[in-house]
Symmetry: C2
Subunit: 108 residues, 2 copies
Amino acid sequence: MRSVEADTSLKSKLFRGLADPSRLSILEVLREGPLNVGEVVAATELSQPNASMHLDCLFCCGLVERERNGRYVYYRIRSRKILQLLAASERVLEEAAEQIAMCEKYEK
Amino acid sequence: MRSVEADTSLKSKLFRGLADPSRLSILEVLREGPLNVGEVVAATELSQPNASMHLDCLFCCGLVERERNGRYVYYRIRSRKILQLLAASERVLEEAAEQIAMCEKYEK
DNA sequence: TTCTCATATCAGTATCGGCTGATATGTTGA
DNA sequence: TCAACATATCAGCCGATACTGATATGAGAA
């Protein structure tokens, strides 16, 4: 059994992985299926180094997997549980969207 | 129907609300039931201004509700969907905890 | 090997957000 | 009204992290 503090610390790390708009938009496009870095760049309009760093971040946190295929590296969402977490966040937004939109914190 | 970009932006705001260890520990203690600010301070060992600001942040983002009772203000988790989101994050951690723990980003 | 393309890495910069200490606001009871 | 307590607010500092531009690494093709 894990301690509560460890859980809280890891959980915050997990949520920070999800808290950046660039990373979220990457996960959004990966929802449709695996993409290589160039395709992610095209789909998200992030710069190539930026996308590469965020993908590495997502990989590091266990949210995506990667596999080299020739010169291309393909990234995919690691598991259904990630998708379920995203879906759960959307259900929260169903009831809290207006409030969150009006909230002055984290304007960006 | 909401646009994808709006969704991504709101979602990142939501996750940022959850991405801070202090706020997560507050949500953790509120899981047991409503608490006033002083009780949150005692349970989390946050400073009073700090706890107050984080509670306001959680309130602002629609994650908790508050209700004044005499001089005390009681905070409670706003809905079951929040609890389900936290539960979903724990299921992700079941499979990604080691990787996230080892990840060098977001050391804190 | 050499060229080309795909991806990763790095230093520098700028910004954002969390924490503290002091103080303000608000509520109850005397 | 005043004193005591609970909570909220604010300025200032500090650390963390996202982005850019340049460059390095790695892989296939010729």
